[in-house]
Symmetry: C2
Subunit: 340 residues, 2 copies
């Protein structure tokens, strides 16, 4: 690849990776997906569209539906089934967010008050159930058993991952493998399923389905690793989330797992007190971040994410070059670059 | 029908309707359903079978799966698909129970501590999600889109009903129609779906599907009405449930709706204080029951249940006589007789 040199002879700043290309490529389709979502979250029970709309209309990146749309495009799909299925993916995602916020007792989501903070836990649980059921209704309307198989399995794995996370919570001695198992299930599986569906609607080979599954899985892992880094980073505030949420909840993520493994006996006592016993006081979050910096665990978590990002990129190797492929590759870079 | 006269000339006590015939007819199938349930609630995440097993193994009547099994039998189905689908129905039911107990903050279920009381709300929400997803996986494995359509629609309607109940809770001025809409959705819809599936697997006509749907719907309404009466009856303790749970939660059921409509201004103040404002003191439950007895609202609710029971019975009119049909008709009588 040639090096671009400006007219004055200087090297230009390398442009930061962005989702602009992906957004541009899927713009028309996403508008249809959004309409599909709005049409299908309606119910004579007024609270359902109110509560669902609070979360869905709040935006979010529509990252998962964009995966389905771009994957279908990369597979040269020309039909319209990917619209409804992308909406299903977002419904499933939204349902898990609603239940997550109840389980995590979060009060912020996408930069605004979470649904459970506004309406309480009860409607959040039940509207989550509704959206989940509605997602299956939409899949049934689509009529493809292979798609139903992919998304029902993904849903079961997501729930398994959430329970696993609950069971391994507050244990700073958790292994990196156990942590990876949690994020594969609770986050990456839906990325994998969303991507794979693009190949299914386009009736591509099993090999291409598997490649897209692998792309989504590894992208999802990288995405979640960076998310976990961001929870301790100054950039977090920009995303409309609280800083140190994971710490306050005693959620064990890779930056903590590595800090525990690399830490002294005294440092491990700090982690046991703050994470295992949730006995936290003023200045503990700062101390936690200082220990992470001492042991480079934030930057090493980013390196781990880069590894999965590379796997995601290589998984796409069997597809010929196209705008959609370029957009998906830039998405990987964007997900990782968020941490910088 | 002739009158049986004993040898000594006395009339024997009319035998109380029971589920014995239904249980006997579905015994072999239910054993397979139970095995199917146990096999499919397994997960490498240990808490899932523990928590699900707590509820599922606790027994329960397996009423809904029995509907599928008996309906299939009445439709002379000879295959084995009804086993897996009956398990799906029970999984969906169990998932909604888990979420219900979280929403209702119940501490008893089927005579033992509820899952949320033992493990807390978080795993109950997530294991409910898992069972729900697993139900869809099992349906996908069965491979019938019509069945998937019936059960995904039922699931959405159940969730809608639960949200509707939440919105109309604590309003003693709610109409009988609004209340019926809630119980049609949250309870009767799954009875209808479970029954209908029996005709679907047997590949019976649309007319027979509809008849079984109507049977299940009306049976479900009758069942829930009696359940609501039982919450104020001495028989309740035998079922291992608290007496007056609905009252304490301010849940507006038909016995209260009728008492409000038939009550004096002073009595309505009592309902507003206890149900709408949840300002309850010692002796209020007894006073509530006294008002219900004064206005015959418990016995009139039983009469309403009998009306729906009759509709359920007549819906089965198009099926020729058979043991399965007799068992289903006796089930209707049993459901209503529970209140006596």
């Amino acid at each position: 690849m040639g090096v671009v040199v400006n007219m004055d002879g200087s090297h230009p700043e390398k442009k930061a990776p962005s989702v602009d290309l992906l957004v541009e490529l899927t713009k028309a389709d996403i508008a249809k997906v959004n309409q599909h979502i709005i049409d299908n979250m309606q119910s004579p029970v007024a609270l359902i569209p109110q509560l669902a709309g609070h979360l869905i209309a709040a935006g979010g990146k529509r990252l998962r539906p964009m995966l389905t749309l771009a994957a279908a495009q990369m597979c040269q799909y020309t039909g319209s089934r990917h619209i409804g299925l992308a909406a299903c993916v977002e419904f499933i995602h939204t349902a898990t967010l609603l239940h997550d916020d109840v389980v995590d007792e979060s009060d912020l989501r996408r930069g605004r008050e979470s649904a459970n903070a506004v309406w309480g836990n009860k409607p959040s649980v039940l509207v989550g159930d509704f959206l989940f059921s509605r997602a299956f209704q939409l899949m049934v309307a689509d009529g493809s058993l292979p798609v139903l198989k992919i998304l029902s399995e993904a849903s079961a794995v997501i729930a398994e991952g959430e329970v696993l996370q609950l069971m391994t919570a507050n244990d700073p001695e958790a292994t990196e493998e156990a942590y990876l198992e949690v994020i594969r299930s609770k986050t990456a599986k839906l990325f994998a399923a969303a991507s794979r569906i693009g190949a299914v609607v386009a009736e591509r080979s099993q090999k291409e389905e598997t490649a897209l599954d692998s792309f989504g899985m590894n992208l999802g892992i990288a995405f979640q690793l960076i998310d976990d880094v961001l929870d301790y980073s100054a950039k977090q505030a920009e995303l409309g989330k609280n800083i140190g949420d994971d710490f306050v909840e005693g959620k064990v993520t890779l930056p903590i797992i590595l800090a525990w493994r690399r830490g002294s006996a005294e440092e491990r006592e700090f982690w046991v007190r703050t994470i295992e016993n949730l006995d936290q006081k003023e200045g503990d979050l700062e101390q936690a971040i200082a220990l992470m910096e001492k042991h480079n665990t934030l930057s090493d978590t980013i390196d781990r994410a880069k590894h999965y990002g590379s796997m995601a990129r290589d998984a796409l190797g069997i597809f010929p070059n196209s705008d959609a492929k370029s957009a998906l590759i830039e998405l990987i870079e964007f997900c990782i670059h968020r941490a910088h």
